[in-house]
Symmetry: D2
């Protein structure tokens, strides 16, 4: 992560500025507020604002006049009930806003989550920084042979070095050509006064997809948890999963009751189809079920054994 002095000063200034409010306030999240949590080689996630807390979920579910909370035990029970039965609207009553710096190819996955508000740094209007993602060698892996959208074996030292050389070289070269086409120095004046600069909206097309961009991203807790259930999952691409994992920490600090319910009933949960459930019932009755008479395809059978922690 590379924040320059001015950025660090602005963050420090925002942290130093305090006010008194009657709104629900979460001290554990206040301590994280504005801080950039490093992700990948140059990226970060930082919470820039939030609305609501665990009690706000309870308050909305009860349509209360006051804070809505009773005893912590009772609130926890209600939140767990709401999570278990997928009553999503009370969770929509909490909102959070992040500032995220991320490679463009990650941003393209992320933006597919439509129920959010986004302001992205505009490369039509401004000039992007010379920063691009280069995977750490241990994250350079071969195409998976079993999963068409996954990774397999980590590359050997030499193969990894060759890949990194290509990625680094191309990112540097395309960025340098981008800068050359723009022909602007930091003040906006032409570097070479004898030729015009290419419009920013055109020059940007020369950048590679590992170039970093940044945005403000705001969403409600229900949609955030949905995002995290997909992106903090083991099947998510590593480069977006690390962002999701950083955000998990902010959720744990912000709404600890909802976070625990989410871990128990969503992240750690499994869904069994009607046929799978039937197999499970037979197994519990002591029957030795085998795939051919399970009613499951081979693929589903393997998935079920995996869920049950049994050898295939």
């Amino acid at each position: 992560m590379t924040l320059n002095e001015q950025q660090l000063a602005e963050i420090a200034a925002a942290r130093a500025q305090t006010a008194t409010t009657s709104r629900p306030t979460v001290p554990a999240l206040e301590t994280l507020l504005f801080e950039a949590m490093p992700v990948l080689d140059h990226g970060f996630v930082r919470v820039v604002d939030y609305m609501g807390d665990d009690a706000a979920i309870v308050q909305a579910a009860r349509v209360s006049y006051g804070r809505g909370t009773r005893r912590v035990q009772e609130d926890a029970g209600l939140i767990r009930y709401l999570m278990r039965h997928r009553h999503s609207t009370p969770f929509e009553m909490c909102e959070i806003k992040y500032h995220v710096k991320l490679p463009i190819f990650v941003a393209r996955q992320w933006i597919r989550h439509r129920t959010a508000n986004v302001n992205e740094y505009s490369a039509r209007y401004s000039i992007l920084d010379r920063e691009f993602y280069l995977p750490a060698p241990q994250h350079l892996a071969a195409q998976s042979v079993s999963n068409r959208q996954g990774r397999g074996e980590v590359l050997g030292t030499e193969d990894a070095a060759r890949v990194l050389d290509l990625l680094r070289g191309d990112a540097m070269q395309t960025y340098d050509h981008y800068a050359e086409m723009l022909n602007e120095d930091e003040s906006g004046a032409p570097r070479d006064p004898d030729r015009p600069g290419l419009a920013r909206e055109l020059a940007r097309m020369n950048l590679t997809l590992n170039t970093y961009t940044q945005w403000y991203w705001k969403t409600d807790l229900h949609n955030l948890l949905h995002f995290l259930s997909l992106r903090a999952d083991a099947h998510a691409q590593y480069e977006i999963r690390v962002y999701a994992e950083a955000m998990m920490q902010t959720v744990a600090a912000w709404v600890p009751l909802a976070y625990q319910a989410f871990r128990d009933y969503r992240l750690g949960a499994v869904t069994l189809s009607a046929q799978m459930l039937d197999v499970v019932r037979r197994m519990i009755s002591g029957e030795a079920v085998v795939q051919p008479d399970s009613g499951l395809s081979k693929r589903e059978w393997t998935e079920l054994l995996g869920v049950l922690g049994r050898e295939a």
Copy 2:
């Protein structure tokens, strides 16, 4: 508006509870926080939480590290530019949450605004209060003859009294039958122990559409302004317009720069079609345009003269 003692005490307690935060805080809105602003005979609107301020709009538009603001003058100019050119995403970065008590027929109009989060008091789960909207006599009007979805002349004293008798009588009778079918006292015990109570989810169907309901309603500033542009408009039904007007006050306190830009460029603005613009240009050139050679239909011609403040 009828808040009972417990509700008032809960509101007072919420107001009394303060905390220190580094989040953007708006003192003018803090003074309104949690207070129920009366609307209609038993309704209210109250702000229960908010996120962001004018500076947050600027911050998102600039994708800043700090608060993003420069001089007030510059911020105002940017906000006005964004409003004028309908750059809506920075306004989505502010969020507000209301608790609203409103007649069901108003709630049915309101809920058509889909980009919001809602938790409504459940008449499937709980029992509704014996409160229904009865218009003040000056708001009882005849069907408009010119506008199929509007009101015309205010009713005379006698006609108004007759209408109010019908509305009051039917609302009281249907509520009493609702209570009779439910057969529950305040503790939930049967009032008449010799017969069963009807399920709440069924009994509610006997209530009239002026019965009050309530909900938590949360939305972002962009969608709120869109709601207000439609519902604070002179063509909106009076019974929803008064809610919009109360909310306008909260927006003025919350984001004064955005509010003024909204008044100038949205609420007070007019849209001219290509043909209308052509007529305006001819008029400015001193031409005495008349409807038959205006290229406008009679209806549009009348609309245009209205906009220009000229006699038909």
Copy 3:
């Protein structure tokens, strides 16, 4: 269901009108097109248009140039895979439009599903018909004692008759007063020429929540299946469940492969929390787990035994 002659003639005319198209067309759904499927005493659901078919799901998942389908077997496998792994976007590529007539209290539940397009008959603009829902006696039930938002025992004959008298009497009286306040005959002329009619937007507030309304409702297959998973569920209120069940038939005719996958992986599926899964694994290993050492609350333990079809 009460369609008048003109309505029946209009439906027949729409059915008779045919055209040639290159769009995906589903003969089984064409036979249902425009027909009103009766629901409750005066309601109906009818399909008025649709876009896409099972192959369109496959086509979008593959981003194909042509129809995208290979062998039926392969398409079914892909659709089942997408459903099992909650890849929802290909299902969004099919769209369906319904015309629904339904009681207002059902409409209020239904409208909470926001990802849909709706045009409702406007009681601000037009006059509602004198039609209201009266439950059949076997659907009049007492409040459930175990479930705060459910029904328990069916009412006895006498109790049911008393409830129906109240519901019918109040609905008829409030409608008659609505008509009296409106003071319009069918041609729009005043019934009593000596007094003004009350504006429609006001008079409607006197109607009860079992009055029928109607709307056009359009959504995509993903959101429709989500709607059906909640509303065709045993926990849904009977009066909306019957609409969901009628719509299930239209889905079965329209996209039979997606429908079967939905039945297997969504409707008939169960979700086990991390703790529940642990209990299941222990049971399969032959352990006799009891609630106190299960890690589950009593409520969750009961839910799990229910899922597994075992005695509590």
Copy 4:
């Protein structure tokens, strides 16, 4: 535009396949169906399905049992009224689905329109083609000096040639390295059997933003018109505007009445702020208004004169 033989054959097959339907059908759009309309150097837009027509807008606005249409004249009047007064829900009742091939930097702008359904070709799962956008020389322009997000003068021959050399060279080199890292031939077998291929989800990060991607994109008519009002506008970037212009043709063929209303009341319309309207009224009254006493900022004054077609 480069479609290979198999793609052309698939399109031809889809066009040849016809069926009889009772759904609303638009012959003018049927003739365009499936055809790829070329956009930019390798892109296209093609309509792959649609639902509804002009009459469906009328039908929904009237909540009709049949097709809802009366005389064409009356339908046109209603559609124009709905468009003028921004009654958007009836336009949501028509739906259209496109298959689009477009450069990634254009896709990144486009995806910001959230109210749509999208399935994009997955570079995590599949390998992208070796196709990238190279602007025609007359579209290579310098950065605008007056507009931070626009283009100014077209580059001279030599400067354009230099830019194209850079763009072409970098795109080819980065693609070749992408292919080298993947190390797969067309059958998926390794090109160089002595080293592993890099996972597709990683290798793609080396591609430049002018690489072509493709997607299925489906939206309703209201949201499509909103998209077109922004993207067919003169201020939109050329590279997305040409897609919008191609789509305008499909709208003209599909819903000619709505299209004409859109041109008159949206595309060709202007919005005047309260202050601008005041100036226009004074001008029509013959007053010679000058900026300092107009109540407008210099920027707004210039905008107004532009709208009125007058010299600054």
